[in-house]
Symmetry: C2
Subunit: 360 residues, 2 copies
Amino acid sequence: MPLRLHHIYHIFLMDMKQRNICTLKINTMKNKAIILNSRPEGKPKLSDFKFINEEIPEITNGEILLKIKYVSVDPYLRGRMSDAESYVKPFELKKVISSGVVAEVIESKTEKYKAGDFVSGLLEWKEYQQSDGNGLLKIDKKIAPLSAYLGILGMTGLTAFFGLTEIGVPKKGETIVVSGAAGAVGSIVGQIGKISGCRVVGIAGTDKKVEMLKSKFGFDDAINYKTTKNIQKDIAAVCPNGVDIYFDNVGGIISDGVHANINRLARIIVCGAISGYNDTSLKTGPRAEYFLIKKSALMQGFIVSNYADKFPEGIKQLAQWLKEGKLIYTETIAEGFDAIPQSFIDLFDGKNKGKMIVKI
Amino acid sequence: MPLRLHHIYHIFLMDMKQRNICTLKINTMKNKAIILNSRPEGKPKLSDFKFINEEIPEITNGEILLKIKYVSVDPYLRGRMSDAESYVKPFELKKVISSGVVAEVIESKTEKYKAGDFVSGLLEWKEYQQSDGNGLLKIDKKIAPLSAYLGILGMTGLTAFFGLTEIGVPKKGETIVVSGAAGAVGSIVGQIGKISGCRVVGIAGTDKKVEMLKSKFGFDDAINYKTTKNIQKDIAAVCPNGVDIYFDNVGGIISDGVHANINRLARIIVCGAISGYNDTSLKTGPRAEYFLIKKSALMQGFIVSNYADKFPEGIKQLAQWLKEGKLIYTETIAEGFDAIPQSFIDLFDGKNKGKMIVKI
């Protein structure tokens, strides 16, 4: 890796701090951050975000100073931008936004970390920030590239893994349908489904994605929901034995088409409902009671943190499959801190393939 | 028990059959039955049913002849009267209807049963019928009155027991809300909830039922959904710690009010949706995806036969609680074979308290 300007800057910075000189000057150096400027109505727009400049923080004993390296932008953040109470608290207006981040430790005043360590965790959209290390995971770039810890070995992979294995409990020979299949979570769900010996069918929004699901991720079949004339009939056609497990990332009328094809004792894993995230009115549709009773079916919502105590075993299993070549992953990587807001907005136009990440 | 006319008739009948005389005459004696005359549109009406006269059947080796004693009329039968495919097959038009029945063995050509035994099972709405005994349960009237085997020790009690314990998994101190609480299943659910150490709130449709839930069945509180101005707010008021378990017998807007009050990791047991059974159009409402994700909640449909292999242990536990006085039950008993259709129709006007049974 070539020595770049920001490396030189860090060396300079740390050298000065170690020698306790020039503290005032360091603290006035700029530290770009992104705040929530207004709560989005409908689809987020650039003006909902605002760049500000903060001081680079001074760390105290027990703390580390982190430099942001990779930022994960995810559909669920849309929910936190509204002021409605949800499973996580809403972002505060005019305050810095946070998401999954990989960062480098550039200064440490704790024995738990040393400069040069990499960590992942829920961190702020800010170039430099201090942390006491709570909630951070030390990660190893020898096992996988750093960005993988925001995707297949991070919340994305764990969401796919625990949603499918803990709620879906796939059995060999069963049929799994995945909506949002070309997305970050969906493409991993499909692969774990194949590892589990199931027939896997994906739903995605372009012919290119449909092709990629089949040729790259090993899905048995896939449907383009934007060109289908009757999603319910198309699902029936590619699932001759019905649907045993539905891993739902989108909700809405796509899901209605799948629900109409579920088998007795089906499991519907409600992971996301992106089709409704930008909708300002409460979405309505056929009531779930009827098909749930008719089929003795289960429908369960979850967030990955429900399984936090099992994260190490999940990462271990995913890393093992990754190593064995049984799992592959796709990233869409945007470049530069300034690209964060637009990359987030792009999610709602389906511009990403797999995990959307911003490399700083 | 006084010797009644029909006992004398049986003795006469069996005596003649044993002596192989007068077979022709016996077989031409009338055996009233009820057929599905037309599939109900909306609420069932008397003209959807028709009384016919059949022959009293001759039994062959391995069979028993049964006389119907108690008939269970249940909301789920409405579903079978439509021709839509469901978890059980639709009743055939112009064929005899069946439901849960307690019958007396009046003649036996198998060692498994003797005359005078009582059985419960899914049997036809017919005064006399033969059976090979498959699917029948021999019942003991010393443990509980015969009608109890159609209620608290039958499908009703087992539905309450397995729905609540297997899907709801109540933990001490949690809050359970039961809709259709004054109904057969609901009143048992509430009592098992209290035995489990939970706060139990019922929803019912008259002030009298509300009062009965509290004074008779030990519910902590109850709401009359017909007089409430805002079911959601009223639920919130009587569930200060939110709703952990919702045992839903009714669906529709009552359920919307409960769903808005569920806690994280709530369990919604979908047992019935009587509010929509007579509706000819598919009911719509708020999509479940949103509150299920928001609360990591589970919503599961079931039918009691999913737990068929555990019925003996369920009956044992229920009988134990009954014996200990921890469970009480209410029956609404109508009299006479001819009362079956009207008793069934009355269910949809909420005329029953507890299990609706017709005594023949």
